[in-house]
């Protein structure tokens, strides 16, 4: 078999860190080649080198046996290389079609000619079952759809080496299944795929071979069929990882939060995004809100944390009605929030890590005196959190957050919120983009919180996480709570019926 890509002795250095250390990687024509590695191991960096976004300090790239000089993404495109980034690169106020042709527009006599492009886009979309609407605005379509637009961009450019950087981190389980199908389809057409993911199941499901990176170095490339999940995670982290969650039975205590008839208007349509929802959360339990993305979970959390106003209803928390209280009031009274979108809400990307770690507490006596920030304490605090949550970056507490790897950004948020020692933790997709080692740690911490008598609301699209971490499940469908379940007693299939709206029952407490 021929190696379509050969990366030889690639070294890429960032201030304070060797992101890729003498990596040699061979990819065969027509395979799905997975990249696995801890957060910050250098996966995105290596792929960015291949795609021409970074120039390596050392090393060379061979495409089909010929040395390739890739100085920018246009060069990469000439070699047939396309990339879907961890954080998408789409123009939000452009349509799907405009985004797809951006940079390779067909021009007749200086005038854009979209008709041909449209034909090709519609054809491609049909052939690969992508179902994209060429005239929808990016800002109006779901994350899953946006990703398909990114895929379409590569297909439109007739790329045959496709790089997917954590494509499944932002997708719903259904969307993941569909993506896997699309990937197999692409392979059958003779394309080659490089696939970064933290989910061992996905590697098992589609990949032929997998390369494992640790701390910038290539550990090994192995066949997926003959390697177990356990040994994969061991190679990657360097120790044994518990893939199953261990916990004792919950001992729910008094009610800490009671939501009564909460409704929130939708920003997109005339109906309510959250409609007449009531539920209770007790100290000492992890309550999971499950559901297919877009069924009101996001808005429910916005309502609880104060990011959205309620149109009606009450939120009783420690015997205060929070409905009209500010976001600050809620966070001071012990509610912490790990937000769904780490770049939109979770971080000020242009602040350094230490500054981000005090986002919820900068005004407390711990970090300021008479309005002046106490930088000494701010940096000591950062060093402690970095240590405790194993946040890795080039310049430690002084790293600009934008330059950190996606998983380490997430760890920073999780660490910051847990360090406020909240009575009620609202965690939305807390393990999104984390490696198995970090996931193990976060799950353990959530359970610790519970065992200390704190309450946790977990919102997750990941059924595995829902089933293994939570003590009680509420299912949301079209803004309403349609069912309650005990994870020990319900099967994933039955849960799926609630989530898709085929089954519902009155939830009475």
């Amino acid at each position: 078999m021929i190696d379509v890509i050969e990366l030889r002795n690639i070294t890429k250095i960032f201030p304070g860190i060797i992101a890729n250390d003498d990596i040699t990687l061979k990819v065969r024509q027509g395979e799905i080649h997975a990249l696995l590695g801890e957060n910050g191991a250098g996966k995105s960096t290596l792929m960015s080198v291949l795609f021409g976004l970074y120039r390596p300090e050392k090393g060379s790239i061979f495409i089909n046996g010929q040395e390739a000089h890739i100085a920018n993404p246009n060069d990469a495109n000439r070699y047939g290389i396309g990339m879907v980034h961890q954080h998408f690169k789409l123009v939000h106020n452009f349509t799907v079609l405009e985004n797809v042709v951006l940079g390779v527009e067909t021009v007749h006599n200086g005038v854009l000619s979209m008709a041909e492009a449209r034909k090709k886009v519609v054809e491609l979309s049909k052939r690969y079952n992508l179902f994209v609407e060429p005239d929808h605005l990016i800002s109006d379509i779901s994350v899953g759809m946006q990703q398909r637009v990114e895929i379409l961009k590569m297909l439109y450019r007739e790329n045959n080496i496709l790089i997917f950087d954590e494509p499944t981190a932002v997708l719903t389980p259904q969307e993941i299944d569909e993506l896997m199908k699309i990937m197999k389809e692409l392979i059958s057409e003779g394309k080659t795929i490089l696939f970064i993911t933290h989910k061992l199941n996905e590697i098992k499901a589609v990949a032929d071979r997998v390369s494992i990176l640790r701390k910038g170095r290539l550990i090994d490339t192995v066949d997926v069929a003959t390697t177990s999940k356990e040994s994969l995670s061991e190679m990657m982290v360097g120790r044994k990882v518990m893939l199953e969650v261990e916990k004792k039975l919950a001992e729910p205590k008094e009610v800490i939060l009671e939501v009564k008839n909460m409704s929130i208007k939708s920003k997109h349509h005339g109906k309510n995004a959250v409609h007449n929802v009531s539920f209770k959360v007790r100290r000492g339990e992890i309550l999971c809100i499950a559901g297919i993305e877009g069924n009101g979970q996001t808005d429910l959390v916005y309502g609880l944390t104060g990011l959205s106003k309620l149109s009606s209803g009450e939120i009783h928390y420690k015997s205060v009605n929070l409905a009209d209280k500010s976001i600050r009031y809620r966070s001071i009274s012990g509610i912490a929030h790990i937000p769904e979108d780490r770049h939109k809400h979770g971080l000020v990307l242009d602040y350094n890590l230490a500054e981000n770690l005090i986002l919820q507490t900068y005004f407390t006596p711990k970090f300021q005196n008479k309005g002046f920030l106490d930088f000494k304490k701010i940096y000591t605090n950062a060093d402690q959190v970095i240590q405790k949550y194993d946040i890795r970056s080039g310049n430690g507490s002084r790293s600009i957050t934008r330059s950190m790897s996606g998983g380490n950004q997430q760890k920073a948020i999780v660490g910051r919120e847990l360090e406020t020692n909240p009575d009620l933790l609202i965690a939305v997709q807390p393990t999104r983009g984390l490696d198995v080692g970090a996931i193990e740690y976060i799950h353990k911490t959530l359970i610790d919180q519970r065992d200390q008598g704190k309450a946790v609301i977990l919102v997750s699209l990941e059924l595995n996480e829902v089933m293994s971490v939570s003590d009680r499940i509420l299912v949301m469908y079209e803004g309403e709570i349609v069912g309650q379940a005990d994870p020990a007693k319900i099967s994933q299939q039955e849960l799926g019926l609630y989530m898709s709206g085929s089954k519902r029952e009155e939830v009475i407490e």
Binding site: P15, R55, G346, V348, Y351, L373
Partner: protein, 363 residues
């Protein structure tokens, strides 16, 4: 050495110096070409020299004293633009805030005779700060509550302020000499600087401007208030998530930016500079100089002290340059090239960073 060059601050300064260098080279080329085309302009080297020294055309301290009058107003408008920029806003309205503040100061210093004379200048400055702040606040409120782009609203306010002031000039016109306004009853104290420098335009204004720059630096970099404002600027959603009142933050940022420009206006109109209000409907150039100053100073208050001084020296050279036969527009072109170059400074910085890294791995 390598560690030193790798520091972001050092790279920023080097990049700014490179921009200045390009601007100067370009200016010199223009002088060369002009000297070939124009008979009167025959000494390009002398002219180039004049660009730096012309501002200090009176030798010694006197020249220095005169240049001070150019520094303080653009230092403040530069701070105004730079402060807004650091908090994620683009204040193009410095010009309007500047005249509004200047007029208010002049009006108070002429008409408010009920205030004891020794305090009058202070009240005039405060009035300028207040009115400049209000003009800025309008853009801030529009942005915070109605999501109106502050660039648009502040450009519009430039004209509104200019036209309003030119209609109000008649109130403070000198009855005997209608082409002038009445002289202010109180001026900014000179603290004896006029004696030291031998120029009556040297007054306390420069100290006020520098003190304000230091204050702004401290507010932005050391206080929780600055932390909040910058968070609103960098990522409004994250600021809201952290419980910061983002609307208040945006409104306050623009208000402070306006107040700074307003103060800049006061420093001009109640000093010995005796600048008169234009009824010709021209936007105050100090406002736009503020944009150049802020860009070259990379919005850092300390950087702005230097960039304001530098640009003031260049501007001051205009008349002398004209006397040696060259067009004083050369100075404006040079300033423009420097600003363009500093807009590219990000590229310089990246190249510089790459160069340092490359060297680092070889050795």
């Amino acid at each position: 050495m390598k560690a030193f060059l790798a520091k972001p601050t050092v790279q920023k300064i080097v990049a700014a110096l490179l921009s200045i260098f390009f601007g100067l080279i370009f200016g010199f080329l223009i002088l060369l070409v002009a000297s070939l085309l124009r008979e009167k302009a025959s000494y390009p080297f002398d002219a180039f020299y004049t660009i730096f020294t012309g501002g200090l055309r009176y030798t010694g301290l006197r020249g220095f004293g005169i240049i001070l009058r150019f520094i303080s107003p653009i230092l403040l408008t530069g701070l105004s633009v730079g402060f807004a920029f650091k908090t994620g806003l683009f204040n193009i309205g410095a010009s309007g805030q500047f005249v509004a503040g200047g007029f208010t100061a002049a009006y108070i210093a002429i008409k408010w005779t009920f205030i004891p004379l020794e305090y009058l200048w202070i009240v005039a400055l405060l009035g300028a700060v207040l009115v400049g702040g209000i003009v800025g606040m309008i853009s801030g409120l529009l942005k915070a509550y109605r999501n109106v782009n502050e660039v648009i609203s502040s450009i519009m306010l430039n004209y509104i302020a200019m036209i309003t002031v030119s209609n109000l000039i008649s109130v403070i016109k000198d009855a005997n000499n209608p082409s002038r306004t009445q002289p202010p009853l109180a001026r900014i104290p000179t603290l004896g600087l006029d004696k030291i420098f031998g120029s009556n335009t040297a007054d306390m204004g420069i100290f006020i401007a520098i003190a304000v720059a230091l204050l702004i630096y401290v507010v932005l970099e050391k206080t929780t208030f600055g932390y909040e404002l910058k968070a609103c600027g960098y990522n409004r959603n994250a600021a809201r998530y952290a419980g910061i009142n983002d609307r208040l933050g945006i409104t306050l940022s623009m208000t402070i930016a306006g107040a700074l420009s307003g103060l800049g206006g006061a420093l001009v109109y109640i000093s010995a500079i005796t600048k008169v209000f234009d009824s010709l409907l021209v936007l105050a150039p100090e406002g736009f100089d503020g944009i150049s100053v802020a860009l070259l100073g990379m919005s850092n208050p300390l950087g702005i002290i230097f960039s304001a001084s530098f640009i003031a020296i260049l501007k001051g050279a205009g008349p002398s340059l004209a006397r040696s036969g060259f067009n004083d527009e050369v100075v404006k072109i040079m300033t423009a090239v420097i600003i363009y170059a500093s807009a590219f400074s990000l590229i310089f910085r990246e190249k510089l960073g790459a160069l340092i890294n490359r060297k680092g791995t070889k050795s």
